[in-house]
């Protein structure tokens, strides 16, 4: 039973780490600000969630688990808020999204 939980938590930790790296890679490789924001959200949802889940499985029922859940809830509330504010501020500042060539935004 213990081994099963251990293996599950390792899988979660590794997958979380992979998602964090993928998100950060997207942050570097994507062509414009709005797509980069999209890529970065992978880090904040899948990456952070899976890593916290992995640590939660290791912690068992304890105060540590409660703190991990608090961190997860904090992330769930704050990261969409920050992303929304960021997108809105960028749009208000006149940062235009990169469109496919030949597309005219005024004709939609």
């Amino acid at each position: 039973m213990n081994t099963v939980v251990d293996v599950l938590s390792w899988i979660c930790l590794l997958a979380g780490g992979a998602f964090c790296m993928v998100g950060a890679l997207g942050l570097v490789r994507m062509p414009d600000f709005y797509t980069r924001m999209h890529a970065a959200s992978v880090t904040e949802t899948a990456g952070a969630g899976l890593m916290l889940l992995g640590m939660l499985l290791q912690a068992g029922f304890s105060l540590v688990a409660v703190k991990l859940v608090m961190i997860g809830l904090l992330l769930l509330f704050t990261s969409p808020t920050a992303t929304h504010a960021l997108a809105r501020a960028a749009r208000a500042r006149g940062l235009e999204p990169l469109l496919a060539s030949g597309e005219d935004p005024s004709k939609r």
């Binding site: 390792w10 964090c20 942050l27 105060l63 808020t81 504010a85």
Partner: protein, 97 residues
């Protein structure tokens, strides 16, 4: 296994840092700073497990709170030009009155 997670987080941190340095707009840098904050939270949690000191989780919580407040504050500054601006909602209320 925590070591593997920590290494993955370090690589992700380096990539986010690269974006923060490359820019090109201030919003890219802010997005990178936000990502670095999230990754640092996770890093603190993993480090706590790695060294067997779960008190690090408290630091992660505080770091997360400061991170979001910092991002919103800097965003407000870059949107309105000063931090004391009442913002959109107040303007809207004024227009209605």
């Amino acid at each position: 296994m925590f070591v593997a997670g920590a290494v993955a987080l370090l690589i992700a941190l380096a990539l986010a840092l690269a974006r923060a340095i490359l820019g090109p707009t201030v919003f890219d840098r802010l997005q990178a700073a936000n990502t670095v904050g999230t990754l640092a939270m996770l890093m603190l949690a993993v480090l706590g497990f790695l060294t067997g000191r779960p008190e690090f989780l408290d630091l992660a919580l505080v770091y997360g709170l400061l991170n979001v407040v910092g991002t919103i504050a800097v965003l407000k500054f870059f949107r309105y030009g000063n931090l004391g601006d009442p913002g959109e909602a107040a303007e809207e209320a004024e227009r209605r009155a």
